[in-house]
């Protein structure tokens, strides 16, 4: 499943149990459970999925199938400053792809990866709906509008 192996602490396991219990361990609430767990852990490693599987009595394979189906769920931890570059059509025609390339070049990672020091990760997302500001980049909660490839260095400098 994932190359990252972690050991869950007891309090982590308790947290997962608390989440599944809050949805009465009902199978059709699985996606809501995964949302809550991802909110808590930042990602959904195999170990977390295994605990959910035990608690909710759903095969791990099925949970894995769901985690990998939806693009919102991730099995790799994001960087401390997750960078999301909008690749919606409006941003694309206004040069979003060049901005993405510039971030990749500056950080030396591909979309979907995290830098070695854990500071940054890059992902592309589909339309945040701020098309008036295209091309749009999100770093954490902060939105940058009308980003040009030349602005990338300056933006990254804020976080270094």
């Amino acid at each position: 499943m994932s190359s990252i192996k972690i050991k869950l602490k007891k309090q982590d396991i308790d947290k997962i149990k608390e989440i599944t219990a809050s949805f009465n361990n009902e199978e059709h609430e699985l996606i809501n459970v995964l949302h809550k767990c991802q909110q808590h852990f930042g990602y959904l490693p195999a170990e977390v999925q295994e605990v959910i599987s035990d608690e909710m009595d759903i095969p791990t394979a099925k949970i894995y199938g769901i985690v990998t189906f939806y693009s919102f769920f991730t099995m790799t931890p994001k960087g401390k400053n997750p960078i999301s570059i909008c690749m919606g059509t409006a941003c694309y025609v206004r040069g979003g792809e060049k901005v993405l390339d510039e971030f990749k070049k500056e950080l030396g990672i591909e979309a979907g990866q995290t830098t070695k020091d854990g500071k940054f990760s890059i992902s592309s997302l589909r339309c945040v709906g701020a098309c008036g500001l295209a091309p749009v980049v999100l770093i954490g909660e902060k939105t940058y509008g009308r980003v040009a490839p030349d602005d990338v260095k300056e933006i990254l400098a804020e976080y270094k």
Partner: protein, 597 residues
């Protein structure tokens, strides 16, 4: 809005929030308090005004002054000048790009003139977090009338008579859908609001939910009454945190007012609404896939029939409507079916909201009567093409739609005309492209999206779209042959005919429509190995124009592969065999001597 002599409406939509509109609000309040004006002037955070291009927006009522591009630093001037002295702050007034005139009154702006706001009628007028403001604009009156005075059958007939068709894509009659769900006997039924707006470049549903959430809740309750359901579910994208927050607030307030919950307004009718979160899958906009996702499964579509109106969520009859469709419902009950059907064209009634974006001057959210032409939308409301460039194409319907050209500009927009022209209404994304956009690359962009979003259940969509993408990629990188164009078309048609759900059945549309309308451009890619728009990197070559080159050597110094040679003060030359087409030389040249072809 009583008790105050003036209102300052600050846009609180996602776009303007990203440009610090919350800080503007805070500063405006601060400035008012400094002058002890907080009891006479009210600052309100509203939903989207639609004019996102020039955000953040502050609108002053009652005089309709529309301030654009406001920064937190402008708050003091707005209060000191406009509120206190009654003088408009002219530097913040919108300037008409063609006449260069300042237009302070929002109603007189080219952007607003041709618009008719029905689904968006409250967006930008009311505070979406306050139920009283919705009620003040006749909110929940339709629901009250329906449950006390009209039978479910008559109410459904009224929706059918209005001619309202689904705004989510397919354009199915909303009244008929309700009738079908109502006709299926069951102990339990569901009303589902599809707020999984996955179409890249479309943000109308988000803006409605952020700007007027009660409108949607009221419509769902009316639908529940008509079809005999007591439970509503809103399936919303987790990527829309602000819309989720506002919906939660709205549901809570509606419950407190007895407008949701048991025995609404003292009647026998009970109805409540719950939120379900999507997790980023475009295919979940398809109703059967959406239902599976709500059940906690992978969002894979299933064969229809059975339709959700017979067997939907938890196996019970379920009525799925999209956000914009629902936003039209309450006002149809207030103003009547005849009123609604008097707007629009013969077969498409009412209005349509479009998210206008791309290479256009006025990016934003607009609502026009069906039958408005593309020319009116793009050149009058949209203010024409950015930077004075030439219009090339407009893409409607997102990844399921097609690219229309200049020849279609005078086509009245409605469901059927767009399909005939080789595109579709879809959810209402409208992306404008100019002469610099390569249509093969645009088709490739959409296919890339489809390939990633295909759920993988049926082979034509899973494998076919991947192959289509590869063919397009070959064409863009100069490896395609002329025969490929026939294969593209053949494969597109097979995918359309054999895919399981709407995603695969429409995914080749961007390819087919660009092949039809821009065949020459495809041909140039495969036969001459040239990209006329100059977008496909692998097909381009950089040249130095001798007459312009002064021999400053700047380009030669910046070239990372030493492909540029020449003596000082004499024209330089680029060796095409070495050039890696990075474009550094062109950026560096101060004499416009380097061109790309």
């Amino acid at each position: 809005m009583s008790g105050y002599s003036m209102h300052l409406l600050v846009c609180g939509g996602t776009g303007c929030r990203a440009s610090h509109s919350e800080e503007i609000e805070f500063k405006l309040r601060n400035e008012l308090e400094k002058r002890n004006l907080e009891d006479t002037v009210k600052v309100l955070s509203t939903g989207c005004f639609g004019f996102c291009e020039k955000g953040p927006i502050v609108k002053v009522m009652p005089d309709n002054t529309f301030y654009t591009g406001v920064t937190p630093g402008d708050a003091e001037d707005i209060i000191a000048e406009h509120v206190v002295l009654g003088r408009t702050v002219s530097r913040l007034i919108y300037e008409d790009p063609s006449s260069k005139e300042k237009v302070p009154d929002s109603k007189k702006m080219g952007f607003s003139k041709k618009q008719l706001r029905i689904a968006l009628r409250n967006c930008g007028f009311i505070n979406p977090e306050n139920i009283n403001e919705y009620i003040a604009r006749e909110g929940y009156m339709a629901l009250g009338n329906v449950i006390t005075d009209i039978s479910p059958e008559d109410a459904t007939r009224l929706v059918k008579d209005s001619g309202l068709r689904g705004r989510g894509g397919a354009g199915f009659s909303t009244g008929l859908k309700w009738e079908l769900t109502a006709a299926t006997p069951s102990d339990e039924k569901y009303v589902v609001c599809n707020a999984d707006e996955g179409d890249p470049g479309a943000f109308m549903d988000r803006s409605i939910l952020e700007g007027d959430p009660h409108n949607v809740l009221e419509a769902m309750a009316i639908c529940g009454y008509c079809i005999g359901a007591d439970k509503g579910l809103i399936y919303i994208r987790a990527e829309y945190p602000l819309a989720i927050e506002r919906l939660k607030t709205a549901i809570k307030q509606a419950r407190e007012y007895g407008l949701l919950g048991k025995n609404i307004m003292g009647s026998d009718f009970s109805f409540d609404i719950e939120l379900k979160y999507g997790a980023g899958a475009f295919v979940c906009g398809e109703e059967t896939a959406l239902i599976h996702s709500m059940e906690g499964l992978r969002g894979e579509p299933s064969l229809k029939p059975p339709f959700p109106s017979v067997k939907g969520y938890n196996g019970k009859p379920t009525n799925v409507n999209n956000v914009e469709t629902l936003a039209n419902v309450p006002i149809i009950f207030l103003k009547g079916a005849d009123w609604f059907s008097s707007i629009g064209t013969e077969k498409s009634k009412g209005t349509k909201v479009f998210a206008l974006a791309g290479k256009i001057n006025n990016v934003g959210l607009i609502e026009v009567p069906m039958g408005t032409t593309l020319r009116e939308v793009i050149f009058e409301i949209g203010g024409g093409i950015k930077d004075g460039k030439k219009f090339k194409a407009v893409q409607t319907g997102g990844p399921s739609g097609g690219c229309l050209t200049e020849n279609h500009l005078d086509t009245p927009i409605d469901f059927d005309n767009l399909i005939e022209a080789g595109s579709m209404m879809g959810s209402g994304g409208m992306i404008v492209m100019d002469e610099d956009d390569c249509m093969v690359s645009v088709a490739k962009f959409y296919l890339d999206f489809t390939v990633e979003e295909s759920c993988g259940k049926c082979a034509p969509c899973r494998i076919g779209n991947k192959r289509l993408y590869e063919l397009l990629d070959h064409i863009c990188s100069g490896k395609g042959k002329v025969e490929v164009l026939d294969r593209l078309r053949l494969m597109s048609e097979v995918i359309k005919d054999t895919s399981l759900c709407g995603l695969g059945q429409t995914s080749p549309n961007p390819v087919l429509s660009t092949l039809d309308n821009f065949y020459d451009e495809y041909h140039a890619h495969v036969s001459d190995k040239k990209c006329p728009a100059g977008q496909c990197k692998d097909l381009m070559e950089y040249f130095i124009i001798e007459e312009n080159c002064v021999g400053c050597t700047a380009c030669a110094r910046v070239c990372p592969v030493n492909a540029i040679t020449g003596e000082r003060k004499k024209p330089h030359e680029i060796n095409q065999d070495i050039c890696i087409k990075c474009g550094a030389c062109m950026e560096k040249c101060k004499f416009d001597a380097i061109i790309i072809q």
